[in-house]
């Protein structure tokens, strides 16, 4: 069943009076239970696309359908792990994780149970009562992931959530996220710079063109799970995607030097 449908999404931004086209007609069908990875050069429009899906940014044209119905506002059915973390500095770590649960009216005891489970998964139990400034960048990112998972959304939108993690933690979470996905049958859209990450996680990998973003190519990665970072068999996918991406990154660099 089609969970989410992006239909011809166009988005421009105003840049000091000039209009900059960020998304140039994105069409994407996300099936229920899909794990889609989006890769593309920096500044191409990946975050913008997630923001549109989340309902935080209105497209100039096109629409997003969720379960066949158009959406235009944000909602807890599409939870985002923001690239910047976006944690609340006035709340303790554990209260950050419980923010959305509290709003959803989940009673206190149950809330505690859920938040403790995910903090434990992210190995942050010891920091439950810390404030955000007391955490490292990687720890903040893990709190943001815990907060999103605790919400148990229909669709999880993740914007480079592993970018700030050390490789050991990243490898652990790569496996953890695959297990969560298999267990909960969640639909995930995951943006990353890192091609091996996309190959390990995605059952589909979508390559975005340099700005304005369009979908350049899509790869289906049909391989057993849980996939491990060191698995040699993933290399061939890696190289195929790298080949596609290289020219886009070169295009971006050329763009910027003009």
């Amino acid at each position: 069943m089609t969970k989410l449908q992006a239909k011809n999404i166009v988005k421009h931004f105003d840049h000091n009076g000039n209009s900059v086209l960020a998304l140039d007609g994105i069409n994407l069908n996300v099936e229920e239970g899909d794990f889609i990875c989006i890769v593309g050069p920096s500044g191409c429009g990946k975050s913008t696309f997630l923001n549109v899906v989340a309902g935080l940014e209105k497209p100039n044209s096109g629409e997003i359908l969720l379960n066949g119905k158009p959406i235009s506002t944000p909602g807890p059915d599409r939870i985002m792990v923001f690239q910047e973390g976006a944690l609340f500095p006035w709340l303790k770590v554990i209260d950050n994780v419980e923010f959305g649960l509290k709003m959803a009216g989940i009673p206190k005891g149950e809330r505690r149970q859920i938040s403790e489970r995910y903090l434990d998964m992210m190995q942050l139990t010891k920091f439950a009562d810390s404030y955000i400034y007391q955490l490292s960048t990687g720890m903040k990112q893990r709190v943001a992931i815990a907060r999103a998972l605790a919400m148990d959304p229909e669709i999880l939108l993740m914007d480079e959530p592993f970018a700030a993690l050390d490789s050991q933690t990243r490898d652990l979470l790569l496996v953890e996220l695959q297990l969560i996905w298999e267990r909960t049958k969640k639909t995930i859209i995951f943006v990353t710079h890192n091609i091996s990450e996309s190959v390990i996680l995605g059952n589909r990998v979508v390559v975005f063109k340099n700005r304005p973003a369009k979908i350049k190519k899509e790869f289906v990665i049909d391989y057993r799970r849980p996939r491990l970072a060191e698995d040699e068999n993933l290399q061939k996918y890696y190289h195929q995607i790298l080949e596609e991406l290289k020219s886009e990154v070169m295009a971006r660099i050329k763009d910027e030097n003009q």
Binding site: M103, Y133, Q134
Partner: protein
């Protein structure tokens, strides 16, 4: 845990240091004052000695004029300040809700921000009268604009990412306002409140000098009328001390607590 203990120790040493520094400064100040007095440059009536001022202090405490004045002044101040905060916040919120109105009013109030509080006095006497309400009016007009502007700009300057994250989790309406907008704006709101407090404090003393028959400003002007420099200086010291105490013990503490929680005090 051990980290916490260390940091608490550090702050309590910090405030001990503060007290020691202040005491040292006072001692030097009083010493210099005494020396200047003994040089006899000014007649005694223009510049009394520290001891004579202390005598004036005892006198005005003994005849109850000082405690009564402090009580009256603080009561007026609190009343005016509460009204100022309530009304100023409300108008600030309306400014955010209606953008055009907000823009217009924010440039208008920026002008009134630097308007001298004393300059409201004649207007207030003619409009309201030579009474407590007239004084309240002066204090409110002197502090409300900084509350309005600070509410308006603090909320507008909230990083959009906080609101995005909250909306993403389903927050909207009053919940969003109460649990995200207000806390996110708090560090900056406190700065506005401190500023408004200092404006209000300026205003009430000025207003009391010109339009009151009780209060700290009044005993200051009585001192002048009777050429009693001891009483003038004693009143000034009281005004200074109250201003300092309220700012340090209340507003500064509040500010510091919020800043620590937010990690805004990490500058090295």
């Amino acid at each position: 845990m051990s980290e916490k203990i260390i940091s608490e120790k550090k702050t309590s040493y910090g405030s001990l240091d503060d007290v020691a520094n202040t005491a040292l400064f006072m001692a030097v100040f009083i010493g210099v004052w005494q020396i200047v007095f003994m040089l006899g440059i000014w007649p005694k009536i223009s510049l009394p000695s520290p001891y004579m001022v202390a005598e004036s202090f005892v006198k005005i405490i003994w005849n109850h004029s000082l405690p009564v004045s402090i009580g009256v002044t603080l009561a007026r101040l609190v009343a005016a300040f509460v009204i100022s905060i309530a009304l100023g916040t409300l108008i600030g919120l309306v400014m955010i809700k209606f953008k055009g109105f907000g823009k217009m009013l924010s440039s208008f109030s920026a002008g009134l921000l630097s308007f001298p509080s004393i300059a409201w006095v004649p207007f207030s006497i003619l409009l309201i009268g030579f009474n407590d309400f007239g004084i309240l009016f002066v204090v409110i007009m002197s502090s409300i604009f900084s509350i309005m502007i600070s509410t308006y700009s603090s909320i507008r300057n909230i990083p959009p990412i906080y609101l995005d994250a909250a909306k993403n989790m389903g927050a909207k309406g009053f919940y969003l306002f109460r649990h995200v907008t207000i806390p996110a704006a708090t560090p900056s709101l406190i700065i506005g409140i401190r500023q408004a407090w200092s404006f209000a404090w300026h205003a009430i003393i000025g207003a009391e000098i010109l339009m009151s028959i009780v209060g700290l400003g009044h005993i200051l002007s009585v001192g002048r009328d009777f050429l009693d420099m001891g009483q003038v200086i004693a009143s000034m010291i009281t005004i200074f001390a109250i201003g300092l105490l309220v700012d340090r013990l209340l507003l500064f503490k509040l500010d510091e607590r919020v800043r620590r929680k937010w990690g805004l005090d990490q500058h090295r």
